[in-house]
């Protein structure tokens, strides 16, 4: 039943995919032509993450407008099933964007050459992990506070990050250790791809499962006045 419901949910997002996937396919060659392969190789994951965020947001907005939660809760579907379907469906959408984005990037020779072959798995795993962690955060907030809550929360988080980011950039000195730490981590990951991949996948899965458990708990307690 869960597989059927996931497929139904994905089919309902068909229009969104029909717009997002071609954009993802077009962005790499366009950026490659305009700004060069180095930038294009970085733009594909950034654009892919943006599409994943848009997908999460649009799905939640549609559910909110259509009162989907109340509709589903009068059917013989448990909160576990409803939340699991949302996580699997969002996860599948993210993987689909990742697959198309990666294939697009790889299919453009200059972009392919901009990333050394050994770095591709880390590159892809990192991009997918960022999107899945975004989903974990988004869904946990969404099931706790609903669409309006998650968007208000998202806006507040964005403003805080922006203010902190600007403050850090203006101070300059604290940026250096942060950049140094990220660079060290990335170099470590490049040098040892297997443990790095394992760490990325394991930590992402743990956080997604924690988010799923939290979402099930808060959704089970939810009332519909």
């Amino acid at each position: 039943m869960i597989a059927s419901l996931v497929l139904t949910d994905l089919f309902r997002s068909a229009k969104r995919f029909a717009v997002g996937l071609p954009m993802l396919v077009l962005v790499a060659p366009v950026v490659d032509l305009v700004m060069g392969a180095e930038v294009a190789s970085g733009m594909v994951p950034a654009f892919f993450t943006l599409l994943a965020w848009d997908h999460l947001q649009q799905t939640a907005l549609t559910e909110d407008k259509e009162q989907t939660w109340e509709f589903l809760r009068v059917l013989p579907l448990s909160p576990v099933t409803i939340v699991t379907v949302r996580f699997l469906s969002n996860g599948a959408a993210i993987l689909m964007y990742a697959l198309v984005g990666t294939l697009t990037a790889i299919s453009i020779p200059l972009v392919r050459q901009a990333v050394s072959p050994g770095d591709w798995p880390i590159f892809i795993a990192f991009t997918v992990a960022v999107s899945l962690l975004m989903m974990a955060w988004f869904n946990a907030r969404y099931y706790r506070a609903g669409y309006r809550g998650v968007m208000t929360n998202g806006a507040v988080t964005y403003v805080i990050l922006l203010v902190v980011g600007v403050a850090v950039l203006m101070a300059r000195t604290p940026v250096i250790p942060v950049i140094r730490a990220v660079t060290t981590a990335y170099h470590w990951a490049q040098a040892q791809p297997a443990p790095a991949l394992t760490a990325i996948v394991a930590s992402t899965l743990v956080l997604v499962v924690l988010s799923w458990g939290y979402s099930v708990t808060v959704f089970s307690r939810k009332e519909f006045h």
Binding site: S4, R12, E66, T68, E70, F71, L75, P76
Partner: protein, 248 residues
Amino acid sequence: MATADDILVLDGVTRRFGGFLLDGISFRLRPGSVMGLLGPNGAGKTTTIKLILNLLHLDAGSISVFGLDSRRDELAIKRKLGYLGERAILPPQGDALWLGRFLAVCFPEWDDRRYRHYLKRFGVPTAKPAGTLSKGTRTKLALAAAMGHRPGLLLMDEPTTGLDPLVRHEVVEAIREVAGDGRRAVLFSTHIVSDLEAAADAVTILDQGQVIASEAKDRLLGRWPGLSLEEVFRRLVKTSSIEEESSS
């Protein structure tokens, strides 16, 4: 006194939120019965139905449906339950056929032929998205969807509010038909007494979160000779309000 055959038993159901208290309400529904839940606005009708559906949680008391506990056996109950709310909540992009396919995944005993029969009988277009249908047609679609798995209990919250007389008649006919085989039952809330008079054989009257009457419609009318159900309802609610004021 509740029996093992009762389809629905509410026992001391209590729920408080804000300034409202649903205060220990109890009633039961037998197979083959159509019960109207009558009460003025804010009496607790919708709250009662949402508690049965587990959309709201109980503070105290118990609800048993088909002999099963409404909280512990929620899914088993909902597989045999049909629901139609005042606002027919349906996915607006999906048409009637899409809805049928979706509900077939959710209900193991979904009967697509039966669903299509109701769609045809109610004149619901099968290829138009639910969001583009009129309120009356959406209600009829929701009713067909609620009856497609032959529910043992049909719960309806103000199903006829805002509908034209023709659609209301069709809904009332369908209500009577469900309980007609003597094995199933219907509980519907309303403040339109004429619909209740036409469809129900039992009445539970709520006022300010309390049950002020719950019995067979004929027996209730028999206690007030010469009065219509609407007049009985008004007198009972007035008496209840006066008692409430004097006790406070």
